[in-house]
C-alpha cells in the first residue's frame, strides 16, 4: 500500500508539475515591466473611482424617525423608490416614517411602503426632490463566484455627511441558502461576498463592476468576536427582488410562495419529495411523495438545500414548473405556489393611498397611446369577430364565426350582442358589475351562466372595459394592486420552447372585484402597456379560469389582443379575434 501511494503520488506529480511549472508562463508570457504594470493598475483604479462616483449618489443612509438607529438602502427609480432590508424598517412600521440621507449631504423624508419579511426586503420612497439619482438592478443570474463587487452603505452609522462607505470584495459563493429566524428573514439563493459588510450595511446595495445592483446586503456570519465582519456577508439576489417589487411598491405585505412539500436527501444522494401536503400546491399540481426532484424552472436541483433556495425566491401564486423523475419516467408539473404568511408582531395594514397610486400607474399604462400620451375620450363601443381555432371539447358559449358587439350605455351594464352571419342579432350577453348580474339573454330569456363559463365572460368584460373606458371615468373602489406574477408558465399549452426561454418579465397584478362574488386579476406588462392574462375566480364556487391575451395589434389607435386562449377547469379553447372595430 505504501508503495502504491508513493508511485501514484510520483506519477501524479509528473503530470501536474509539468502543468504547474510550464503552463502559466507559456500562456501569459513574460511579466510586464513595473512601469507598465503601474500604468495599467492606475487606469483600472481610475475606472473604479469613476464608477463609485457614478453610483454612490444612489446609496441611502436610512434612519428611523428618531434618528437613533438605521441602516442602508439604494434608490432604484428617479421618483425616489428605494430598496432596503425589512429588518431595517421593522421598527418604523408604526408611523411608516423615517429619514434617508444621500451623498449630496441632505436628509430626506422617507416613507416605508411594502415589506417582504420572509425575504428581508422592504421598499421606501424618499420625497423632497424632483428627481433622485438611482441605480439599476442587474441580472443577478449572471453573477459568478470570483466576480468583483462593491458593497455600499452606512456601517455603524459612521457617515456624518451621508456619503456611503464603499468596500471591495469578491462574490465568494452563489446559490447560498441561509435559514430564517422564526420563519422570517430567509436568505434564499443569495450571494456570499467577502466585501466587508457590517451592522449598518443592512439594506445597502452590492454592485457589480458595471455599477448594477446585483443584490441587497443584509446578513453576515459572525464568530465569537462579536458583530463584526469576518468575510462572510450575504446579499439577496436582485432577480428575486424584482419579482417582489410590484408588491413592495404597492405598499403590500409581500408573501413568498411554497409548494407545501419537503424534499430531503435519499440514500442515492438524490433530492426526493418526502412530504407532500394534500392541501398544498405541489399535490394539486400532481407531485407525489417519492418523486425525485430534477428541475425547478431552469434550475437543475442539486440538493434539498438548493430546492429550498430556488423555491424561496418566488412570490405566492407564482407558477413554477417542477420536473421530477417518478420511477424512471420524467414528468413535469406546473404548480401555483401557496402563500407563506409572515409572522408579524402587529398586523400590516395596506396603505390604500399608496396602493391606489400603483393601480393607477398600471391602468394608465393600458391607456397610453403609441406616443406614450394618455388616451382620452368618450366611452367606446367595439365589436369583434371570433374564430374558434382550438377547442378540444365543445364547451363555452362562444361558437365559431360568431360576431359580437359590445356596447355600454353610460354607466349601465356592458352588453355583448352576438350576431349571426346574416347579421341577424343573436344572443345578448350582459354584464353588470354593480348588480352582480351576468346573464345571457336569448331573445327575452334570462338565465344564469354556469359559474366557470361566467368567469370567462366576466374576465372578457373586464378586458374590454379596460381597453375601452377612459381612465378618468373608472370607479376604482375595491381595486387593489396585489403584486407580481410571472409572464412565463402562464399556460399549460405553451410550447416547451416558450417555457424554456428564460424570462425575467414581471407582470403586475391589479385585482378587480367583479360583481360581488367574483374577482378578476389583470396581469399587466406595464412597460409594454398590455394585458398578458386575466385570472378570474368565482368566490362562492371557487371556480377559476384564465384568459391569455396575445398577438397584440394596433387597431383603432389602440393595441388589442387578437388571440385569446381560455383555460378553465375542464375546458379550454383558443379564439382568434379579428375585425375589431371601434365606434361611438
Amino acid at each position: 500500500m505504501d508503495h502504491k501511494n508513493l508511485i501514484m503520488s510520483f506519477l501524479a506529480f509528473l503530470a501536474i508539475a509539468s502543468l504547474m511549472t510550464e503552463m502559466p508562463t507559456a500562456v501569459y508570457g513574460e511579466p510586464r515591466s513595473p512601469g507598465e504594470a503601474h500604468a495599467r493598475v492606475e487606469a483600472a483604479e481610475s475606472a473604479r473611482v469613476a464608477l463609485i462616483e457614478r453610483v454612490s449618489p444612489s446609496v441611502v443612509c436610512v434612519y428611523d424617525d428618531e434618528q437613533s438607529g438605521g441602516g442602508s438602502g439604494v434608490l432604484i427609480d428617479p421618483r425616489g423608490f428605494g430598496l432596503t432590508n425589512y429588518h431595517v424598517v421593522a421598527g418604523m412600521l408604526d408611523g411608516r416614517k423615517g429619514w434617508g440621507g444621500l451623498s449630496d449631504g441632505s436628509l430626506y423624508r422617507l416613507r416605508v411602503l411594502g415589506i417582504d419579511p420572509t425575504g428581508d426586503v422592504a421598499m421606501f420612497r424618499l420625497v423632497g426632490r424632483d428627481s433622485f439619482p438611482f441605480a439599476r438592478l442587474g441580472d443577478s443570474d449572471k453573477v459568478a463566484v470570483g466576480d468583483t463587487v462593491l458593497a455600499m452603505g452606512n456601517p455603524f452609522t459612521l457617515s456624518e455627511d451621508y456619503s456611503p462607505t464603499v468596500t471591495r470584495g469578491l462574490v465568494t459563493g452563489v446559490h447560498r441558502y441561509q435559514w430564517g429566524i422564526k420563519g422570517n428573514l430567509i436568505y434564499s439563493d443569495c450571494f456570499q461576498t467577502d466585501a466587508s459588510i457590517n451592522p449598518g450595511n443592512s439594506g445597502g446595495p452590492l454592485f457589480n463592476s458595471q455599477g448594477e445592483v446585483i443584490g441587497i446586503n443584509g446578513r453576515i456570519s459572525v464568530n465569537t468576536r462579536g458583530r463584526f465582519n469576518v468575510g462572510f456577508g450575504y446579499a439577496i439576489a436582485a432577480n428575486q427582488i424584482k419579482r417582489f417589487i410590484p408588491s413592495l411598491r404597492a405598499g403590500l405585505l409581500a408573501k413568498h410562495g411554497t409548494l407545501q412539500a419537503i424534499a430531503e436527501w435519499d440514500e442515492a444522494g438524490a433530492t426526493v419529495f418526502r412530504r407532500v401536503s394534500r392541501d398544498g400546491s405541489a399535490y394539486k399540481a400532481g407531485i407525489r411523495i417519492g418523486d425525485r426532484l430534477v428541475r425547478i424552472d431552469g434550475f437543475t436541483i442539486t440538493s434539498p438545500n438548493h430546492f429550498a433556495s430556488v423555491l424561496g425566491t418566488y412570490p405566492e401564486k407564482w407558477r413554477v414548473r417542477v420536473a421530477v423523475d417518478r420511477r424512471g419516467s420524467p414528468l413535469e408539473f406546473v404548480a401555483r405556489l401557496d402563500p407563506i404568511t409572515p409572522k408579524l408582531s402587529a398586523p400590516f395594514v395596506v396603505d390604500e393611498e399608496v396602493n391606489l397610486r400603483q393601480v393607477e400607474r398600471v391602468l394608465s399604462a393600458l391607456h397610453r397611446d403609441e406616443s406614450g400620451g394618455v388616451r382620452s375620450g368618450k366611452p367606446l363601443r367595439l365589436s369583434w369577430t371570433v374564430t374558434r381555432t382550438h377547442a378540444p371539447r365543445s364547451n363555452g358559449s362562444v361558437k365559431p364565426n360568431e360576431r359580437f358587439k359590445a356596447t355600454q350605455a353610460g354607466d349601465g351594464p356592458i352588453r355583448l350582442r352576438r350576431f349571426y352571419d346574416d347579421n341577424r342579432p343573436g344572443r345578448l350577453i350582459e354584464y353588470d358589475d354593480r348588480s352582480a348580474v351576468q346573464r345571457i339573454q336569448d331573445s327575452d330569456d334570462t338565465f344564469d351562466l354556469p359559474a366557470d363559463v361566467a368567469m370567462v365572460y366576466t374576465a372578457l368584460y373586464v378586458v374590454q372595459k379596460r381597453l375601452t373606458v377612459p381612465q378618468e371615468s373608472l370607479d376604482l373602489t375595491g381595486v387593489l394592486h396585489t403584486g407580481a406574477d410571472a409572464a412565463v408558465h402562464a399556460s399549460r399549452e405553451q410550447t416547451a420552447h416558450e417555457r424554456d426561454a428564460p424570462s425575467t418579465e414581471v407582470l403586475e397584478i391589479v385585482e378587480w372585484p367583479v360583481a360581488q362574488h367574483a374577482v378578476a386579476r389583470l396581469a399587466v406588462n406595464v412597460s409594454a402597456g398590455r394585458v398578458a392574462f386575466i385570472d378570474t375566480r368565482d368566490i362562492p364556487s371557487g371556480s377559476e379560469a384564465r384568459i391569455l391575451l396575445s398577438d397584440y395589434r394596433e387597431i383603432g389607435g389602440v393595441r388589442r389582443p387578437c388571440s385569446i386562449k381560455v383555460e378553465g377547469p375542464g375546458f379550454s379553447w383558443h379564439d382568434t379575434l379579428s375585425d375589431w372595430s371601434v365606434g361611438p
Partner: protein, 356 residues
C-alpha cells in the same frame, strides 16, 4: 515530455467556459482550490461533532487537515467538490503541529468504518479516486502583497456539491506563530503565513491557500489569538511544514494510527548567569543586578544595570515574564536578548551551556 504535451493539449481543449463580464481574474485560482478541498463532517453517535475542511494531497484520497475535535469523531464524512461522499479515517495526527492526515474510503452510512481497520487486505476494495490534489513537493514563490485565495467551508455555508466558500486577500508577511488558544500557548511555534483574508472562522481551518495561479501555498491553521497583537491571527501553515508532516505520516503508516504524545522531559533550566533586580513595587522591570563571572551572559558582554527588553523576539515586561520566557529555551540553544543600556539598545546573542 510526450505525456506533458498530451496533457497540455487536452487542457487547451477543455478551456471553453462562459465568462462573466464581471470576472476578476481569480477564477483559475478559485477553481483549482475549490476542487482540491473537501468538506468534513464529524458524524458521531447522535451528536454533531463539528465540521471542517481538508486539503487533498494525493490522488488516492489523502486529506490533510488541522487537528481538532472533529478528528476525534466516531466517523468522519468527507464530501468532495462534486458532492461525492467518502468516509475518512485518521492516518496520523501530530499534537505538536496540530495537524492530521486522513485517508478517504468508500462511504457506507449504515456501517461506520472502524478507523483502525485500514489494512492492506482491504486496500483494493477501499481504493477511491483519483482525485485532483495539491502536490506538496511543488514550491511556489511568495512575496508580501501577493494575492491569495482560501477555499474552505467556514460556517458550513456550502452543502453537498455546493461550491466552497472563498476568501480573497493578500499574503501579509511570514512570521513565527506566537499565539494562544484560550488560555494556553499554541503548541506550534514554527513559521506561518499571515494573510489579510479572514480565516479565523469555525470550519475554516484546513482550507487550501493558493496564489493567483492556483499554486499551493499552505493550509489555514486553527483559530488562535496572536500573542503579539491579541487579535485573531489569520494564518496558514506553509507548504514545507505540511510536506514534512505528510512524509512523516506516510513513513509511519501501516502501523500505529496515532503517535502518543511524547512526554516532555523535565525541562532543564537554562542558566545565563545573571540575577535580576527583585526590588520595586508593582512592575518589577528586569534590570540585571549581577552577572556571574565566566557565565554565558558575562561572555556575551551583559553588564550590571542592563535592562532586558526581549528574549528571542518576545517582549519582556517584568521579572516574571523573564522567567517564563526562559523556560521556553533549551540548554545549548542560542538565546537572543535585546537590552537597553542607558539610551542605547543592543542585540546580544548568548550561547547557553548544555548541562548533560
Amino acid at each position: 515530455m510526450t505525456r506533458s504535451v498530451m496533457i497540455s493539449a487536452l487542457a487547451l481543449v477543455m478551456c471553453g467556459r462562459t465568462l462573466s463580464t464581471n470576472a476578476s481574474g481569480f477564477d483559475r485560482a478559485i477553481d483549482i482550490a475549490s476542487a482540491r478541498v473537501v468538506k468534513l463532517y464529524g458524524v458521531g453517535a447522535g451528536m454533531q461533532e463539528g465540521y471542517g475542511t481538508g486539503v487533498l494531497v494525493s490522488p488516492d484520497g489523502q486529506v490533510l487537515t488541522v487537528s481538532s475535535l472533529l478528528i476525534g469523531a466516531r466517523q468522519i464524512l468527507a464530501v468532495a467538490h462534486d458532492g461525492s461522499r467518502y468516509g475518512a479515517s485518521l492516518v496520523h495526527r501530530d499534537p505538536a503541529r496540530q495537524l492530521a492526515l486522513l485517508r478517504l474510503h468508500p462511504y457506507d452510512a449504515t456501517h461506520p468504518v472502524d478507523q483502525s481497520n485500514t489494512q492492506d487486505s482491504e486496500a483494493e476494495t477501499d481504493s477511491v479516486g483519483p482525485f485532483p490534489f495539491f502536490d506538496l513537493t511543488v514550491d511556489t514563490a511568495l512575496e508580501p502583497g501577493d494575492w491569495v485565495i482560501a477555499a474552505g467551508n467556514a460556517f458550513k455555508v456550502a452543502d453537498g456539491a455546493e461550491r466552497m466558500s472563498i476568501a480573497h486577500g493578500v499574503f501579509s508577511v511570514a512570521t513565527r506563530l506566537d499565539a494562544r488558544r484560550r488560555a494556553r500557548d499554541f503548541p506550534y511555534q514554527g513559521e506561518c503565513l499571515v494573510i489579510d483574508a479572514i480565516t479565523s472562522n469555525p470550519g475554516a481551518p484546513g482550507s487550501a491557500l493558493v496564489n493567483l495561479d492556483g499554486g499551493f501555498l499552505g493550509m489555514t491553521g486553527r483559530v488562535v489569538l496572536s500573542n503579539l497583537t491579541h487579535t485573531h491571527l489569520n494564518h496558514a501553515i506553509p507548504r514545507s511544514v505540511l510536506l514534512d508532516f505528510v512524509e512523516e505520516a506516510n513513513a509511519r503508516a501501516g502501523g500505529e494510527t496515532e503517535v502518543a504524545m511524547v512526554k516532555a522531559e523535565a525541562p532543564q533550566i537554562v542558566d545565563l548567569g545573571i540575577r535580576l533586580s527583585r526590588a520595586g513595587y508593582r512592575t518589577i522591570l528586569p534590570f540585571v543586578e549581577r552577572v556571574r563571572r565566566n557565565s554565558p551572559a558575562a561572555r556575551a558582554g551583559i553588564k550590571r544595570d542592563d535592562l532586558i527588553l526581549s528574549i528571542n523576539g518576545r517582549a519582556v515586561d517584568n521579572v516574571q515574564d523573564f522567567d517564563t520566557r526562559m523556560k521556553g529555551t533549551a540548554p545549548g540553544e542560542r538565546v537572543l536578548l535585546v537590552i537597553r543600556r542607558g539610551r542605547i539598545i543592543l542585540d546580544v546573542q548568548i550561547e547557553t551551556d548544555y548541562k548533560p
